[in-house]
Symmetry: D2
Amino acid sequence: MSTAFRWPVRVFYEDTDTAGIVYYANYLKFFERARTEWLRAAGINQRELSQKERRAFVVTRCAIDYHAPARLDDQLILTVVVEKLGRASVNFQQQAWLDHPDHEPTLLCSALVRVGCVNTDSMRPEPLPAHVANQIRSQL
Amino acid sequence: MSTAFRWPVRVFYEDTDTAGIVYYANYLKFFERARTEWLRAAGINQRELSQKERRAFVVTRCAIDYHAPARLDDQLILTVVVEKLGRASVNFQQQAWLDHPDHEPTLLCSALVRVGCVNTDSMRPEPLPAHVANQIRSQL
Amino acid sequence: MSTAFRWPVRVFYEDTDTAGIVYYANYLKFFERARTEWLRAAGINQRELSQKERRAFVVTRCAIDYHAPARLDDQLILTVVVEKLGRASVNFQQQAWLDHPDHEPTLLCSALVRVGCVNTDSMRPEPLPAHVANQIRSQL
Amino acid sequence: MSTAFRWPVRVFYEDTDTAGIVYYANYLKFFERARTEWLRAAGINQRELSQKERRAFVVTRCAIDYHAPARLDDQLILTVVVEKLGRASVNFQQQAWLDHPDHEPTLLCSALVRVGCVNTDSMRPEPLPAHVANQIRSQL
């Protein structure tokens, strides 16, 4: 995960289920938190984007492989890499790693996430605003 | 729970945590589902209320007592009783019961929930629209 | 969705986000509810399976396409079809449809979900118990 | 919130609902994150407590007042104060504040949360282990 953007996530009770592990849907929450912080680091403010330009990012496709479970109190590292920047979409490669205090991180989960830009009124696809595309391009 | 409005809720993996029981915040989701279905049964459509009249219900206070835990696959019964109808608020008394196939239900959780009517633009309190107050009154 | 197993899901406030639509991770909750009810209909009790046979189902892979958004109060129909029954895994094809009172349902979301059977102590893969495999086979 | 323990929480899409605000149940998640980090800061490891001593903390009562809504991207500060340490329970006073870059924080939500110590096998109340009570006492 050398050069990828990283975002730490701690596992709390809310994230686990009765099998004693992080519930599978919750990785999508973790991945979104990491993408949001990646956008914020790139200078993109989603709330303004929505209010001033009527644009929002919505996930249109997502493929996830679950390799190993995480448990209560685990410290995770979420990574974000832009795989492809399209006219109205961005493809992200994301991973969740278990951070160990005394040895190398373990890969828990990896995902390809395709995010589309939509008009918030119509929910129809729209090109990314130029300044957003530029900010993303500058992070590649 | 004799004459109260009832709404069934099944416990799924998503509702549980690593302690093997329903996570405490999730009862607020169950209570809201029951209030929503109670409103629907009273002929009140929250989506229309929001879109056409710019009114929404928001919880302003809530006191919950947890008596016994629920587990995966449990069948719950949620109850709704209106305790007080105010000008811009409704007080609900709600309970969650564990439904047993072969004996009386067990009380799991009880709550007092105060719901306020707000303007969706300002999020400030507003009187309940007259037709909504009437529909609620007709259910008492 | 002619012959598939169907499970109804109503969209509540808890399922939506500030974009006004169902949050993308929540479809995985809906899909799990439908798989659980499909298992229940096939006579498989996950809580007993876990307590008596130390076996649980965990999702190992999942690919989701989001076609159209769902909103508050929408009535969804979730479908479940077994695509492949393996020795220690089951592949499901699942869909979420928007139910309209007056015309044909609209496809909102489709997913391929691979579920593995694990030992609940080790979380390592284990063959499906014979009676479970038989119950699933009888549903095909 | 001068001397209280503080824990920062960012509002993500997952936390909001279609009314554009943080969903009321999610404050209970935020409060739990803050209590967990408070316990961690006091040297109490809940996972070890559960595995080695068969003890867990469960919420038995909780009273919440909602004063003002939080929105996407808001930065919150959660506070934790122990109000009373009992033999088998701890009463917490907790608040959620909206952090502003340029003026004083605004109070969003305040809660009294009573947490009981239970045996994880029976889920029945048990006294707090002496070392846990001492660690909590040293934080008062």
